[in-house]
Point group: C2
Chain length 505, copies 2
């Protein structure tokens, strides 16, 4: 049963429908901010737990820094404030008072406070106190926090004024070590996207004009959505000595000389959930990769009358006990028994819309026959996707079934990504004609009308103007630059590198 | 080796010294806000994980609601806004602009936004959209979030402008069910404090004038600090229909009538860490209960020269493998090998200051003799607390050792609490004389000069004035009210109940 809006009809409305029908999030009465509902938040918790383990296993420690940053801190790094000044929530008062029957802000602050859009400014201040000698380095910290950027066109998960993220911040005694850290965490993001979210990505460096404000280099993971647009899924910044100089993070090195530290920062946010939706969801709703599904298996009892109920529930209890011993991906399986007082068919569709990887429908006939009816959210070879299995067969196969689903989801998205990077566009006319078309849903196994272009670039300001006019961006400069000879497809000037061009979220 | 300030000399300065020397948190450059450092945050993560499991096992689901609450939402519940208006951070602008070379707030918002001091107002708004019929009830949600209350006298962990907490919010179809929920979560807090933090508490109801603004009833857990002052460790509120009426959370009941829902809310915060410090820390620094210690066992290698190093590190590797199989409290043990390039004696004192429950010092002699030197942070019977054990003996005993430490910490604090509740004060003169003394550190096993008083109360406004003048508060009305006959010890009027009086944090 399809959603009210399907992908080929109206992709943006389909996206909204998926989020709404899966009950993952909704707009709130707080302008531009969302409420993340249990199913959406459950997915975020899984992402957080997986990545938190990675953060810790790479020797980072979690901390928590203040959400409020004194305005003057932003005056220290000119590029940084330029990048964020237009979208900052500013706290100016510390109380409300009643005036003429109305509540109004009162007690004006001496110095306004900015609600963190990102925490380099305030964390650099702490680092400057912590770091005195090369012995204090490296400092490797991370925080899970909310941040605020005043988006004017908010969209659930993709762009909300407040969002949740992790931000890693590190300081090092050498440029090389800091650059290694930047690369290590980029690779951690690639691994997270591909092996946990089943969302393939391209990795590379951002061009100068797309860098994080204040960074020397920004590296990124870029995913392709089902409409051929790019989504920046995570970034890792090498900040050089920029923030160290503005906040005075300096140390005495082994040669007994005073030197500024080298810092990095890196982050991924709840935006990843938007990426997961646009990578995997279909016309029936959400599809959650098993590794991040709050529930991997949902059991829907089918009880026609009270006489049957005991037998069915006893049989289900037995199945749950056996399921609980299974370890897909080497972890405890997550099983939900949906006992709500609701028709089983409604429950079935609800969990389909939510994208639970496997639904088991179990009724009296199944209990009598020692069977279960199993439905995989994505169809792996079986046209209808509903299977009747013996209990033993179902239990024995559940882990590999979940693992196969995870793999199949990645493979499908990966083939979509890699078969939709055009490399045969070499003139601005071809480029303009290609991107003159609008992005449309890429049907499974078909070629995209518009997606990514890999082509030559000269890095000349003139080319940036052209891109701006066409609303096309350079997503990244891929690490593999096998053949950089040739001319820029935008300007015809000598090219210095290959880049990925795309329309983006 | 004692801290610079010890408890009996200057209790408040000792507290600051513990936090600083254990490197748990520090004041930040953001006024009134703290930086929670890895050791402090690690303790918070353990508390969060333990309580999150409880939240989920009692059928609550985690969500995330906006941090910004439109000002007008506070106009709906008069008592609620009265309670918080004086300490609210107000966002009034959404960008910064450069004016005369200075960054200034720009783009004034049409409606100011309040940074949540607590989320009843914004969550009630969501509930009003979610709840239509009795079938939609109960709604049982929780969020882990940061909140802001504009404290004028901030103290690390105890009172900071921004702090971290969990806030549970629920809506029910009957008053009885909501009251049950309130009690259930109060009991969950008691369990958390006593069985996880080893911090004994008294439970009860708050008097009318100490209730949460907007609540019908506030229940609380109150702990006794080592200076005899009370610390409110957690609260659970029965909100009746107050917020339901102001936000219009109404539903069609089984009798097909429109009715307002009954709501509750409950929370504990990073303040708990302040409570843990003042319950357990001693003159040598922090003492962390094993259940919430980021590392339960810390291994400090003692290596005198590089020849020894391999042998010692091999021996330690073997010990770590064996330790990893131990399951204190039925969970994976948390072991840290401190490999830093630092003198072992400095490491030893650092982990002592941090309050790691068990330190193992392992050198060449231990490796040769198949021994370890074990130090328990709190001394359980062994005067010096340093033991030499065979490797096998240490491994076999490590779980019960940690469990015994946890139990001993609770028992000690519990006996301190229960032996320092005076019940023999019956006149205002005695009361004034008792509380005329200042709070002092309660030496182990000794009687407090000032701590708690359990006595009669009349609930008359006159008594509240008296208490206010003396800066004494009623901490709670205990649930056990065996003998309520008699006269109020403050006013001499007929008493209606027993209450707990104390000075508090």
């Amino acid at each position: 049963m399809a959603l009210k809006k399907i992908r080929k009809e109206n992709y943006p409305e389909w996206y909204q429908a998926v989020v709404a029908e899966a009950d993952m999030a909704e707009n709130s009465s707080s302008p531009g901010c969302m409420v993340i509902k249990p199913w959406g938040y459950g997915i975020w918790e899984r992402i957080r737990d997986v990545f938190d383990e990675k953060i810790k296993s790479t020797d980072h420690e979690n901390c928590y820094f203040p959400m409020f940053i004194p305005l003057s801190f932003f005056q220290k790094e000119a590029e940084h404030v330029d990048g964020f000044a237009k979208e900052m929530a500013v706290v100016t008062h510390s109380r409300l008072s009643m005036k003429d029957g109305k509540l109004v802000p009162d007690s004006k602050l001496e110095e306004p406070l900015i609600v963190r859009p990102t925490s380099e400014a305030i964390i650099a201040d702490s680092f400057s106190k912590w770091v005195k000698s090369y012995r204090d380095l490296p400092v490797l910290v991370n925080q899970w926090a909310n941040v605020v950027r005043w988006e004017m066109r908010p969209r659930l998960f993709l762009r909300t004024r407040e969002f949740l993220w992790q931000e890693g911040h590190t300081a090092h005694s050498s440029s090389e070590e800091a650059e290694e850290e930047t690369t290590r965490m980029l690779e951690a993001y690639r691994d997270l996207c591909e092996n946990t979210l089943a969302m393939p990505v391209l990795t590379g460096r951002k061009p100068e004009h797309e860098k994080f404000p204040g960074a020397v280099d920004t590296y990124c993971v870029e995913a392709m959505m089902q409409d051929g647009k790019a989504l920046q899924a995570g970034t890792s910044h090498f900040l050089g000595q920029n923030f160290a100089k503005s906040a005075n993070i300096s140390f005495v090195n082994k040669q007994n000389q005073q030197e500024f530290a080298y810092t990095t920062s890196w982050g991924v946010s709840t935006r990843l959930i938007g990426g997961v939706i646009m990578t995997h969801a279909d016309d029936e709703g959400m599809v959650v990769p098993p590794k991040i599904a709050p529930y991997q298996v949902v059991i829907v009892p089918v009880v026609k009358n009270t006489t049957d109920e005991d037998a069915v529930m006893d049989y289900i209890a037995q199945i749950r006990t056996e399921l609980a011993k299974q370890m897909p991906f080497g972890e405890k399986i997550r099983v939900k028994l949906d006992k709500r007082d609701k028709a089983s068919v409604d429950k079935f569709w609800e969990w389909t819309r939510k994208g639970a990887p496997i639904i088991l429908e179990i009724g009296k006939r199944d209990a009598d026959g020692n069977n279960v009816m199993l439905k995989e959210r994505i169809k792996l070879g079986t046209p209808e996707g509903k299977l009747i299995l013996s209990r033993e067969e179902m239990i024995a196969g559940i882990s590999s079934r979940l693992e196969n689903i995870q793999k199949a989801m990645f493979d499908k998205a990966n083939s979509r990504l890699h078969s939709n990077i055009r490399t045969d566009i070499s003139t601005v006319e071809e480029f303009a004609a290609y991107f003159g078309q609008s992005n449309e849903w890429i049907e499974d196994g078909k070629q995209a009308k518009v997606a990514f272009v890999r082509g030559k670039w000269c890095a000349d300001p003139q080319s940036e103007e052209l891109l701006k006019a066409m609303k096309i961006t350079i997503r990244c400069i891929p690490f593999d630059q096998s053949n950089t000879q040739g001319v820029c497809l935008l300007t015809g000037k000598p090219a210095t590198m290959d880049v990925i061009y795309a329309r983006s979220y």
